[in-house]
């Protein structure tokens, strides 16, 4: 019996790895997700046969969870995917913390360090992940300000909480069972989760979500140590690896270290340095009408569209596709340039454009499109700001200096669709708008794009 259960868990682990393997191409990705889901089903069946009592609670939990999960997954808009992922990630971390707490209370802590260490680890990391994900959700859902929330001595306070947690953890491992202290440690973990995400701004959320994803994975792996369950260890390790890799990738794409992203409350103060650099340029902003821009686009040979989060906010992904189709019909070559941190999580913009039926072959990564921009007639920037800011390349005093950008200033003409002259999420001014090559088209992205569609039709 037990042999079959172990083999079923192994099969589930293999399905997870194969599922991730299939995610390496958009063609096979959907099948990969199904394979991983089948693996999950196998693991759950193998677990269900071990259930001997409390069936009513098991069924209750599964039914309630399924209803919530299905409703959430069905109703969420594609622009809201990041907060949905944060939410799902949070409940996963919460589950890990709850299981460890239950295990500690059940066994009265009377286990060797081989179990006690992972119990403590999973409880702390799981609760940090749960609370941190909830704050990330609140910020992304705009239930609270996306700006960093800071106060003097914040990092010191957070450091003290972290040291307190470590102190209690060590004490718990050294002594016999002290349930109240264990609960206190979990509570401190929750507080640290909140305190740790509060000072991180909305623009840095891709990094935070990746990191918390890795946290939950590690908490799940630790739970596997507690229960001596290999499929939990394998699955947890896979997720931990994926979250870590994406975290590193994201911070690299922003040209900053992970420590800088997590601890510097980036974007809180309006940046003085870049404003000075701009004053020196002293250029004027040229704003154009939809008709001017339509002529420019319609007679171009090549157009590169650079979408940013503003496009998602305005729900303009369908309008931009319509414009691109129209231009292609006229024989214009259209490509989309996707910055790694465009949107609110890694690859978010690709999902939004896929929703609008943009074929994925048309989406170009930053490294692939930058060499082509010199030969591009018009770069059309829609709701993107910081990811096109030339100050990141040539103004060492700028806060975003060093961040790799999509070099739209290299193309022959630049058109920027933007609501107003307000600064982007990083709170940094953008000299691109003062470039003589640049035409600004002010207004809501969706309305501007619809105007452009009509104007191009009439050219």
């Amino acid at each position: 019996m037990s042999v079959w259960i172990t083999l079923a868990y192994l099969l589930a682990a293999v399905c997870f790895i194969l599922g991730l393997r299939f995610l390496s191409s958009p063609k096979t990705a959907r099948r990969g997700n199904v394979i991983a889901a089948v693996g999950m089903g196998i693991a759950l069946l193998a677990t269900a046969v071990q259930v001997t009592h409390n069936w009513e609670f098991v069924v209750l939990g599964v039914v309630v969870g399924s209803v919530v999960g299905v409703a959430g997954a069905r109703m969420v808009k594609m622009t809201a995917i990041p907060q949905m992922v944060a939410l799902f990630n949070g409940v996963g971390g919460g589950a890990a913390a709850l299981i460890s707490t239950a295990d500690y209370l059940n066994s009265a802590g009377g286990q060797g360090p081989g179990v006690l260490i992972p119990v403590v680890f999973s409880a702390v990391v799981g609760s940090i992940s749960f609370a941190g994900s909830m704050v990330a959700f609140g910020k992304l859902q705009e239930w609270m300000t996306g700006q960093p929330i800071t106060y003097p001595g914040q990092q010191v306070v957070n450091g003290v909480i972290a040291v307190g947690i470590i102190g209690i953890a060590i004490f718990l491992m050294a002594t016999s069972s002290v349930p109240p202290l264990f609960i206190a440690m979990v509570a401190l973990g929750l507080i640290l989760g909140v305190a740790f995400v509060l000072p991180i701004g909305g623009a840095d959320m891709p990094v935070v979500i990746s990191l918390l994803n890795a946290f939950t994975g590690l908490a799940a792996a630790a739970t596997g140590f507690v229960l001596d369950n290999t499929v939990l260890i394998v699955a947890g390790a896979l997720v931990g690896a994926s979250g870590t890799l994406l975290t590193l990738l994201m911070s690299k794409a922003m040209g900053r270290s992970i420590a800088n992203v997590l601890f510097s409350a980036f974007g809180s103060a309006p940046a003085g340095g870049a404003a000075v650099a701009m004053g020196a340029e002293g250029g004027t902003v040229r704003s154009g009408s939809a008709d001017d821009v339509a002529v420019l686009l319609a007679y171009a040979r090549s157009v590169v569209i650079v979408p940013g989060y503003g496009l998602a906010v305005a729900q303009a992904q369908h309008a931009v596709r319509e414009l691109a189709d129209l231009l292609e019909k006229r024989g214009v070559e259209v490509k989309y340039a996707i910055h790694p941190v465009a949107g609110r999580m890694p690859g978010h913009m690709n999902v939004l454009l896929a929703e609008a039926n943009v074929p994925y072959e048309q989406l170009y990564e930053m490294e692939r499109i930058n060499p082509e921009l010199e030969r591009t007639d018009v770069a059309l920037v829609v709701g993107a700001n910081d990811t096109t800011n030339p100050a990141a390349k040539d103004t060492p005093s700028s806060p975003i200096y060093g961040m790799p950008i999509i070099e739209v200033d290299k193309s022959a003409n630049v058109v920027v669709l933007k609501r107003s002259m307000a600064a982007g999420f990083a709170g940094v001014d953008n000299p691109l708008y003062f470039n003589p090559k640049t035409t600004m088209l002010f207004g809501d992205a969706k309305k501007s794009l619809n105007d452009l569609v009509n104007a191009v039709k009439n050219v």
Binding site: N33, V51, F57, G65, V68, V226, S242, L245, Y360
Partner: protein, 108 residues
Amino acid sequence: MTSQLLTNITILVLAAFVGFEVISKVPTTLHTPLMSGTNAIHGIVIVGGLLTVGALAGGWVGTLLGTVAVIFGTINVVGGFLVTDRMLEMFKGRRPAPAPPADPAKKA
């Protein structure tokens, strides 16, 4: 150090390497579905919740915490896989073109 613990550590380390290897092959285009998909995979903690509630001996506190863990884990698993599927369904290539009349002027 029991041999079981050592075996578990071995599995953890090897799985992490497999994870890095497999994940680094995923293109940036698919990073959001990747994250959402791995998110669903860590919902495997629901196994721990099921065992806590239904297979291990424990008082009512354990049952209560375990039941909440099962709810959370199920949300994580069901929601995670479904939303990932919704996203991946939308990723289409050029060949099965979704716009029927726009074909003649289109370039390859």
